[in-house]
């Protein structure tokens, strides 16, 4: 209760962007999703119909604010995360049946990468393995360096945070990955690459920050080479049942509180991603709910925050980091209620003649 008290009082004026989303299905043709003005509570805009389209300028301004918020959040928090958890800024992958010790968490984060590659049936043999990779929302480059080393490939990482990009490059250079791995400050919604560059398009826990899921997915597809693989690992909300237009009010409420602290725009479901990818003719679209495989993660993060090192680090970081830390129990709540899902979605771009 005290956590929710702190996170909900006094921050209502905090601006955050809303999601843009379109979907199609056999019964519903693609329709542009609706945009909401800044500051209103979000419904799942995928299913909302019948409201007037707002001025796109207000949407862009909102996107800019979100982008700035994300950059500042990570500029501020990356160092403390790296200090305590290392260079992978994503969930570990755990066997639901076994007990987990604290020391296993870093290994679990590596397992998350390997399991994701396996799920996408990524080829390992020399001729077919990816030669060029893009890490979309790369953090401090943990995945980039791991994938580049694993495949002997070239990897570009993009992030909104200049601090992260610097640190990522520093680590790459220090680890002798000179030339193989490089990082830029760039927007996943407008990737600074020509079309069809990458054999592997990797988005590990960055999708939840993207305000326009359709644009996000379109960019992932645009930069993928023909025959290339796209892997998205991200936080989604539960799929809606056919009779549901949107999440229940108390569910939206919980997500809103998380969104404000973590600089997240509106959430979508795993089914939404699958639908988007299929609607642009991606092949072999697969998805899975890995929520059971990440259950130990948030409790472990909270535990690490409550150590002496954790508390002192938080107190010397900024309020954005502290607020993010305070909201962590809400993530556990979300998972426990079956509202938040840890999802993987993969597909292949068709080989065009």
């Amino acid at each position: 209760m005290w956590v929710e008290g702190i996170s909900s009082s006094g921050w209502r004026s905090h601006v955050y962007a809303m999601g843009h989303l379109a979907t199609s299905s056999p019964t519903n043709p693609i329709r542009p999703a609706l945009t909401m003005p800044i500051g209103e509570n979000a419904t799942n805009s995928l299913r909302s119909r019948g409201r007037p389209r707002r001025n796109t300028m207000s949407v862009r301004a909102a996107s800019d604010t979100l982008r700035k918020g994300i950059a500042e959040f990570y500029d501020e928090s990356s160092g403390i995360w790296e200090d305590i958890w290392g260079d992978h800024m994503h969930h570990g992958f755990y066997d639901p049946a076994s007990d987990v010790s604290i020391s296993d968490h870093r290994a679990a984060q590596i397992r998350m990468i390997d399991q994701s590659l396996a799920f996408a049936s990524l080829p390992d043999e020399s001729k077919q393995k990816p030669k060029s990779i893009v890490d979309v929302g790369c953090g401090i480059g943990g995945s980039s360096r791991y994938l580049a080393r694993k495949f002997g490939a070239k990897c570009q990482g993009i992030t909104l945070s200049p601090v992260q990009a610097q640190r990522a490059q520093q680590l790459a250079d220090a680890q002798g990955l000179n030339g193989q791995v490089s990082f830029e400050v760039a927007d996943a919604l407008n990737q600074p690459f020509p079309d069809a560059q990458f054999d592997l398009v990797w988005s590990m826990e960055s999708g939840e920050h993207m305000p326009e899921k359709k644009k996000f997915v379109n960019e992932l597809v645009r930069v993928a080479a023909p025959g290339g693989t796209i892997i998205i690992v991200t936080w989604c909300h539960r799929d809606l049942s056919p009779s549901e237009e949107s999440l229940r009010p108390e569910e939206k409420d919980l997500l809103d509180r998380i969104c404000r602290a973590f600089y997240l725009p509106e959430w979508c479901s795993t089914a939404d991603y699958v639908s988007l990818l299929r609607s642009i003719s991606m092949e072999d679209v697969k998805s899975a709910d890995w929520s059971d495989h990440v259950a130990p993660f948030w409790p472990a993060v909270i535990k690490s925050a409550l150590t002496w090192k954790g508390i002192t680090s938080l107190l010397t970081s900024g309020w954005k980091t502290i607020w993010g830390a305070l909201v962590m129990p809400l993530m556990i709540q979300g998972y426990n209620k079956g509202l938040i899902k840890f999802a993987i979605i993969t597909c292949r771009k068709p080989n065009r003649p």
């Binding site: 030669k131 070239k154 200049p162 002798g176 030339g179 490089s182 830029e184 400050v185 760039a186 407008n190």
Partner: protein, 122 residues
Amino acid sequence: MRLLTHNMLSSNIKGVTSGFPLRIEVEKMVEKEVELNADFLRNMFAKVEWKALVEASKTLGYTELPDNVEPSMLDSDEFLNRFHHALLELHLEEGALVCPETGRKFPVNKGIPNMLLHEDEV
């Protein structure tokens, strides 16, 4: 920013039809020695836009790359060394990447390009 990276970046400002390659404005450039990996170079050769690499290396003061190339040149150690040097050892630390169509400058600070587009460019 190495020229391998420059070879991958383009200006995707709304309305721009040929945003590649970006021109380079140099404020500070350094050379950093890096171990040569012939396999990596051979893999990259097919993916590199050669003309863009030659132009970019000239901007950074390196003029030893041949204007025209073919795969058989990868057997020559001398060629590999020059290719390696241009691709991986020349660094733009401070300066800008310039959109060839609009002239818009994307800053490069501490070796990291900032390719974020403004509101009116998307």
